[in-house]
């Protein structure tokens, strides 16, 4: 603490000096220079801001019914009013407000399910990659079994078993995404395993656990980050799918997939009820995929110029 001021200046000096700075900052710079990656980052930043500041920026309560304002079209359409910029649904709820609160639901869901998949997946993958042998076989064959099921079908089975609801949907999506992370972490752990610093870590008396988590895993972060970003998009899409089928978010939670499901009966009368949540899902997934690709370009040493 005594030298905080000193270290703060040297921190910025180091970032400005390309010779001396941490490679992390080179990668950040590379991500910013990548136009599609930056676009993804901006989309996600906008969605995250919407999620965080939802109560401040949404014009209405997302679950408040307004029976006199049922199925109002968006403002630019005939009969639309500035009061409901993107129109209302059959219960008179403001679509824009529901979309903004929906960002909250989708991002939370992404964080929880990707967090679950990432934690369990990297744990299993790291163990498999480090110990190899029968343990590796056991874990990876189990992962293969999970992968053998059609993605959404397995999620439906798990939700059907746990019971419908947002929390259980998150669990299901987390579980079906475990193999993604397990595979990628296993491959990187095996790659790092033979390197000298791993032997060096063992030679100073570190336990296996320490070697795996303190020495090897931090070196496998790059592919994990990329996969997590891509997984976010997939998780949002899967959750929307589950909610559309009525197995995910239950009314009146403003989840995008559930909104589409609620609006599908009115597609001919009120196109806006299901179009806007659809666009929101599209943009959200696109944002995470673009960011994931951008991160891959920035972090993958093989693609470095």
């Amino acid at each position: 603490m005594d030298e905080q001021a000193g270290s703060a200046t040297s921190f910025w000096a180091r970032i400005r000096n390309p010779e001396d700075r941490h490679p992390f900052f080179d990668q950040i710079e590379k991500l910013f220079k990548n136009k599609t990656g930056l676009a993804g980052l901006i989309i996600i930043a906008v969605f995250s801001a919407a999620a965080v500041f939802a109560p401040l920026i949404s014009p209405h309560d997302p679950v408040e019914n307004a029976l006199y304002d049922q199925l109002k079209p968006p403002v630019w359409d005939e009969g639309g009013a500035a009061k409901n910029l993107l129109g209302t649904d059959d219960l008179g709820r403001d679509i824009l407000s529901r979309l903004i609160y929906g960002a909250r639901v989708s991002l939370t869901l992404g964080v929880v399910s990707v967090g679950l998949a990432l934690t369990l997946g990297s744990l299993l993958g790291a163990i498999a990659g480090y110990y190899k042998g029968w343990l590796d076989n056991l874990i990876m064959r189990f992962m293969d079994i999970i992968l053998a099921f059609p993605h959404i079908l397995l999620a439906i089975v798990i939700v059907a078993y746990l019971g419908p609801g947002l929390t259980n949907a998150m669990m299901a999506i987390g579980i079906i995404n475990i193999p993604r992370f397990a595979r990628i972490v296993r491959a990187s752990v095996m790659d790092e395993f033979g390197k000298d610093y791993v032997t060096a870590a063992k030679a100073v008396g570190a336990t296996d656990r320490r070697v795996i988590f303190n020495a090897i895993l931090p070196n496998c972060l790059a592919p994990m980050i990329v996969q997590a970003s891509l997984g976010f998009g997939a998780a949002i899409l899967d959750a929307a799918g589950l909610s559309f089928l009525g197995l995910g978010a239950q009314p009146p939670i403003p989840e995008w997939g559930a909104m589409i499901a609620e609006g599908r009966a009115m597609i001919l009368r009120a196109w806006w009820v299901m179009t806007f949540p659809g666009i929101a899902i599209l943009l959200g997934v696109l944002g995470f995929n673009l960011l994931g690709d951008g991160l891959r370009d920035a972090l993958d040493p093989r693609l470095r110029d």
Binding site: A200, K202, V204, G205, A206, N214, A215, P218, N219, L221
Partner: protein, 325 residues
């Protein structure tokens, strides 16, 4: 004097497809406290495997210890459970690796990595650990240690990284340091600095060093005792002056004469080499392992494995043709 390390008839084998590789076969040597033992040999002669076996770092399977003892401070390390062995690694026996470029973890600062060693073996507060780290950096001659501890490995030169490795090896005041070709990856001036540093630290801390190299010049500078290995076996062992002044084994003599001599005129001559290549561990020759390349090999060399002959004063040779030398 009580030996610090006493290796008796150590056999480290690897079971692979197509048979068993005898990477270290019946190797014995001892290290006294404060002594530097040089382990010399060509690539693949088993010197690094011997070191890994002492540390208990041979991957098993495919490796296994087929026999022998590694007695360190009176305890056979091969009988110790992994948890006890872990306490010895890094604190009582530490290791310096060949490649300072790759043996430091790229994602942590060098200070953190040295701190990690201390944290693993001693219960100290963060401030105490920090001081110890800075102290150890100063000890190995890293300038401005207070700011260098915050550097990442890629920000340091090869020589500086090797100093960090040495600081790491010294962090818990080990009794034995195993240096596996610590200067091979460094250029000559840095190499000289590192060797001088190791010698100086050894005399300051009283630690023993097991110095593994293929460079006889380095051995002459560092070691008190030398063990020459060939294809997993000990060919000759002696005090350093004895070995360089009076080499007995044809292999040792061959190695000595393969060192280029600087000079012009009369001193300049064609560099002699040892004919042939190291035999494959899959297909070792019968009798003496060296006889196919030996200049003085006789009939019995290709049939009977030569015995260890003790010439007195710790000079041991494994050869049939001693009379001829």
């Amino acid at each position: 004097m009580q030996n610090l390390l006493d290796i008796r008839h150590l056999k480290t084998y690897f079971s692979v497809r197509g048979g068993v590789l005898k990477a270290v076969d019946d190797v014995s040597f001892t290290i006294e406290p404060g002594q530097t033992l040089g382990l010399v040999g060509e690539s693949g002669c088993g010197k690094s495997v011997a070191a890994s076996t002492i540390m208990g770092l041979v991957p098993m399977p495919p490796g296994f210890v087929a026999g022998g003892e590694i007695v360190f401070q009176g305890v056979d390390l091969l009988q110790l459970p992994e948890s006890k062995m872990r306490k010895i690694r890094g604190s009582k026996i530490s290791m310096i690796f060949q490649e300072p470029m790759t043996s430091l973890n790229p994602v942590f600062t060098v200070g953190d990595q040295v701190a990690e060693v201390i944290r693993l073996h001693e219960k100290l507060s963060r401030a105490e650990i920090r001081n110890r780290v800075i102290e150890s950096f100063r000890l190995v001659g890293i300038p401005a240690p207070e700011s260098r501890v915050k550097d990442y490995p890629h920000q340091m030169s090869g020589g500086m990284r090797q100093r960090v490795m040495i600081a790491m090896a010294l962090a818990c005041s080990p009794k034995l340091m195993i240096a596996d070709e610590p200067t091979t990856a460094l250029d000559v001036t840095i190499q000289a600095q590192i060797l001088e540093l190791m010698n100086q630290l050894k005399s300051e801390t009283g630690a023993s060093i097991l110095f593994i190299t293929h460079d006889l010049g380095v051995i002459a500078e560092m070691a008190q005792k030398v063990v020459v290995m060939y294809a997993g076996k000990v060919m000759e062992a002696a005090e350093v002056t004895e070995l360089f002044g009076n080499p007995k084994h044809p292999y040792t003599i061959g190695l000595m004469s393969s060192i280029p001599v600087l000079g012009t005129g009369k001193k300049q001559k064609r560099l002699s080499t040892i004919a042939g290549v190291v035999p494959s561990l899959f297909n070792l020759p019968k009798g003496c392992l060296f006889h196919e390349r030996c200049t003085v090999a006789g009939k019995e060399c290709s049939r009977v494995e030569p015995p260890m002959t003790d010439l007195g004063n710790g000079h041991i040779v494994c050869c049939h043709q001693l009379a001829g030398c």
